[in-house]
Amino acid sequence: MGALKQYIDLYMSQREAIDAGSADVMNTLRPVALKALEGRELPDRGVEGFEKTSIDEMFAPDYGMNIGRLALPCDVAAAFKCGVPNVSSLLAVVVNDRFVPTATLLKNVPAGVRVMSLADAARQYPDEVARHYGSAASLESAGTALNTLLAQDGIYIHVDRNIKVERPIQIVTLTSTPVPMLTTRRILIVAEEGASLSVLTCDHSMSRDTAALTSQVVEIIAGERSRIDLCDIEETHDTQSRYNQTYVIQHAESNVAIGGMTLQNGTTRNEYRVNIAGRGCECHLGGMAIGSGHQHIDNSSDVKHCAPHSTSHQLFKYVLDDESHGAFEGSIEVTPEAPFTEAYQSDRNILASRGARMHTKPQLLIYNDDVKCSHGATTGQLDDKALFYMQSRGIPRDEARMMLMQAFMAEVVDTVRVEAVRDRLRHLVERRLAGYEAHCSDCKA
């Protein structure tokens, strides 16, 4: 225990430098976050909600931070070689927390849409950013409070009222560092009333030999009747740790679909906290985890219905091979204020080897009688009968296994509503299950 202290000490000694490298809107929240962290620890394994993953352990190494905002060497062009190129001309690269727009992005961003550095946005549009920054994320989470304390920059995506962004916005986030480092990144996505947009984030690491940790807090504010799609694909390395916390606020009649796909990683904890604040909303939460080696993938979801007549669907699927570990803890919460809620949650997992482990804990908290809710979790193995049937037709066992795994994951791929993104994801999943390494190994700068 006690990993938090070193970062608070770091903050105390470097607060002026941290502020100087950021913007007022972000700096204003730091003292609030510091207060929220008083007497707190980062959650350890076994603490309620963190059964299998220790955040404290994740943060325990004495990582450095790039507070002085040195431009770390990174071959940005190499990012284009990654597995999901050309989905969109609206492409930006984020190196650690530094936003690097592409020429095509600057040329193609439609009117009424901002895709830019969060710190820059906070300087240029302080009122707008202040309205949303920190409005969805909860400082009750020590991880989020720490992120708020240290974050200097990140990504800001804002779509004005009734503007529909046709093309998906693609953000490639890269961790690139010559020394063990903590990256604190912040993403803020705002769709004003009636706006719609789709975002694809591809999380890569260019420093496969260097241990690195990313703390990322994503805030999504879905205005009334807005529509937001976010697909987040992680393809990093076994040296990488990631603590990703996604907070969503849905206003009336908004429609949000989020997919969290872990294809390659080291240790990952993803949290999804959805607050359905307005009536008549639709929420889709899809999660996929493909584990091999010693990968550790932990997803935690909480969809809270606070208004009537909304529906939510959660689907999480894991395929775990070798000695990989998976954890899922998901809940649906229906408050007394949310009659006529329909909420579903399903977690299905395949253990492809004897050494793989899955821990799952689906939960329902219902404080209203007039609802339709269900949840379920299954963990099993590949179907031996199907495997033998395929082999008897000449399909080699390994290929048959791969085909069955792909078929199993197809359901999660299909939760992605944007066709171009869905197709790329399907391709990536096929490659991953066929045993290819994540593409970032090619683009090691």
Partner: protein, 256 residues
């Protein structure tokens, strides 16, 4: 070489239970063999063991398939070498389309023989041709393997796969079970169309009915894990008339 399959003193178990207790069987090219017998005599086990189902353990004996040691091969390689098992209960594989399934099967075989994958147009043409043999609906091709297929469609699908893979030895395990008379006719006609002087078929069945359509050259009776009686086509008719009891009595009496 005329001899296609030679099974000698084959023993196989599931767990501690021995099911095949010394099977001897020789099948020549161009022949149709029927293996009949009461329930639980080991008919399906024999077909499963020949196809390489890992549920069963071979505890003794040998099986030679056109000169090679069949029992030494992985199930997929047995298929590549020309063995085909039509399943009594074809397996449903949700999420794997028939087209992808067959493409994987066809190309795996080509790879085994160091051939490049089949070009897409050629593959589609092959599918079309072979579907016609068993009157298999084109719509089933885009569906998941056997998922939601009727009993008759599943069995037709088996013969369709057999037609595509062109095996030299086909084992039809209770292909008649669950089929109405029309489906039975279509399936049997499909099998007959695929018959050549170079290949052979083993029909495993409980009833004579299928043998009205697929005429056997040799009929074996399997009982308690052994082939206890071998005769010509007339043996099947005799069984239909008298049932299995006379065989059972005779064998059980000899055992005493």
């Amino acid at each position: 070489m005329n001899e296609l399959l030679k099974v000698t003193d084959l023993h196989a178990s599931i767990g501690d239970k021995e099911i095949l207790k010394g099977i001897n069987l020789t099948v020549n090219r161009g022949e149709v063999h029927a293996i009949m017998g009461p329930n639980g005599s080991g008919k399906s086990t024999l077909s499963a063991v020949l196809a390489g189902n890992p549920t069963f353990t071979v505890t003794g004996g040998s099986a030679t398939f056109h000169g090679i040691d069949l029992l030494d091969l992985a199930p997929e390689d047995r298929s590549h070498e020309g063995l085909f098992l039509s399943f009594q209960y074809p397996v449903e594989i949700p999420g794997v389309s028939m087209v992808n399934f067959m493409r994987a099967a066809v190309n795996a075989k080509r790879k085994y023989f160091n051939q490049p994958p089949m070009p897409a147009t050629e593959f589609l043409k092959l599918m079309r041709e072979k579907r016609a043999i068993v009157e298999l609906d084109n719509k089933l091709a885009s569906r998941s393997v056997n998922e939601g297929f009727s009993g008759g469609e599943k069995k037709r699908n088996e013969i369709f796969q057999m037609a595509v893979l062109e095996p030299c030895l086909s084992i039809l395990d209770e292909t008649d079970s669950g089929l109405d008379i029309d489906a039975l006719r279509v399936v049997a006609e499909g099998v007959n169309k695929l018959k050549t002087p170079d290949n052979a078929t083993i029909v495993i069945t409980h009833y004579q009915r299928l043998l009205d359509y697929i005429k056997p050259d040799v009929v074996h009776i399997l009982y308690k894990g052994r082939i206890v009686y071998t005769g010509g086509p007339e043996l099947a008719l005799e069984l239909e008339e008298k049932g299995y009891d006379w065989i059972k009595n005779q064998v059980d009496k000899e055992a005493e």
